[in-house]
Symmetry: C2
Subunit: 244 residues, 2 copies
């Protein structure tokens, strides 16, 4: 009974089934739980005394939304997050999540033009850990501007990186096939891990504790057991495919 | 710096400010976090080995929605919840949360007519702990049918009770002034405790870790510090008004 690693297509299908009329979840609910799991993962590995300053890098899609939720929770946990968002998403929920961060007095860097990298460079010099919420499971290459310049800067900073779901720049199913992606220290997979991270060697957590048992069984996900009432579970090193 | 106990009016105002255009929260987000906090409180006090069977009693308003969210999370935590919902809410979110519970295979008791108490009586004989999500901070007496018959049955069951925000039947500002309310063992206040529970003697938790610092300061809520990345904090016994 090994845990199933998802294709991009199956990940998309799960999202759709959770949110269609019979699944009945709203994106607000799922994003709130996903973002909370991301914040809890970061807080589990990087304590706020030693790593108070978190740069939350958000892409324009749903994963950027997870990042905005995580930034808000990190602020509530006592960290001092900054959001870097060179391409703000256009969806209504994205704008509401951005407003929630502003109401929490979280600085938001949204340079104009987006290709202006100086705010990012300056911010990296005042950061302890990066939360990478740039690209998710719907990422399709190539890496578009300004992110083609952003990813190398994040790597060159040598700061610890926590990636959400898929390290940005990786192929969702094949991993870092072009060698252009981030190399995170920590990964938090959402709902179930994707094929591309099967060989990931860092600390690997799972979040998104909202999958109904019937869906899990139908799709043979074989998810690990979450401990107690936690929203995250750490996967065992080396043999992450083994069911816990 | 003592924690502020809220009037019904101030509780209402906080809810409105969080969800208006400048607060930007959706009810889906707040209810998800509130219900999660309720589930975590119950799971903190009543472990699933000894208390697996939870009867989640839901009223027709927003507090019933918190109860439905809590029931779903309790199911994910490994409990076997049952929802008792004699007066289903009419709001769209209430119906979606109900569907989410059904998708988790959580039994829902919604007797017709609502005054038929036999399903409740039978269920109480197979219950280890009650989650009371019947009336919240907008409750106005009198206790309307069928709840005027339901509350005494819950009390007579002598089962442990966890109440959400305000024990059902209590005056939101004056407490159990008519002696007709539940006497819970555990209370989980949401956002900030209400005036009516100032003298509550059981274990008292606070949930709803989503209040922006600026709002907390403007309203002088003086909330206690939540530990780590927890969604709940237990208030000290006896002197709950003291800031932690």
């Amino acid at each position: 009974m090994t845990m199933r690693y998802l294709t991009a297509r199956l990940a998309q299908q799960i999202d759709e089934e959770l949110m269609n009329a019979s699944g009945a979840f709203s994106i607000d609910q799922l994003m709130e739980l996903a973002g909370l799991a991301c914040a809890q993962t970061l807080a589990t590995v990087y304590n706020r005394e030693k790593y108070p300053r978190v740069l939350v890098c958000c892409g324009p899609g749903n994963q950027g939304g997870d990042g905005l939720v995580a930034a808000r929770h990190l602020g509530l946990f006592g960290y001092t997050p900054t959001v870097y968002m060179p391409k703000p998403g256009s969806k209504d929920i994205y704008k509401r999540l951005e407003t929630q961060c502003r109401n929490m007095s979280i600085p938001i860097l949204s340079p104009s033009p987006p290709a202006d990298l100086s705010p990012l460079k300056q911010s990296l010099s005042q950061t302890d850990v990066i939360l990478d919420a740039i690209f998710g499971f719907s990422f399709q290459p190539p890496i578009r501007p300004p992110f083609d310049d952003v990813l190398p800067l994040l790597t060159q900073s040598k700061l610890p990186i926590v990636s959400v779901d898929i390290p940005s720049g990786w192929n969702v199913e094949k991993g870092d096939e072009y060698g252009a992606g981030l190399q995170p220290d920590v990964l938090v997979s959402l709902t179930a891990p994707k094929l591309g991270v099967k060989e990931f060697k860092g600390r690997h957590f799972l979040g998104g504790r909202f999958v109904p048992k019937a869906m899990e069984e139908k799709l043979e996900l074989n998810l690990p057991l979450y401990p107690g009432f936690s929203q995250i579970v750490e996967l065992p090193p080396g043999d992450q495919a083994q069911k816990l």
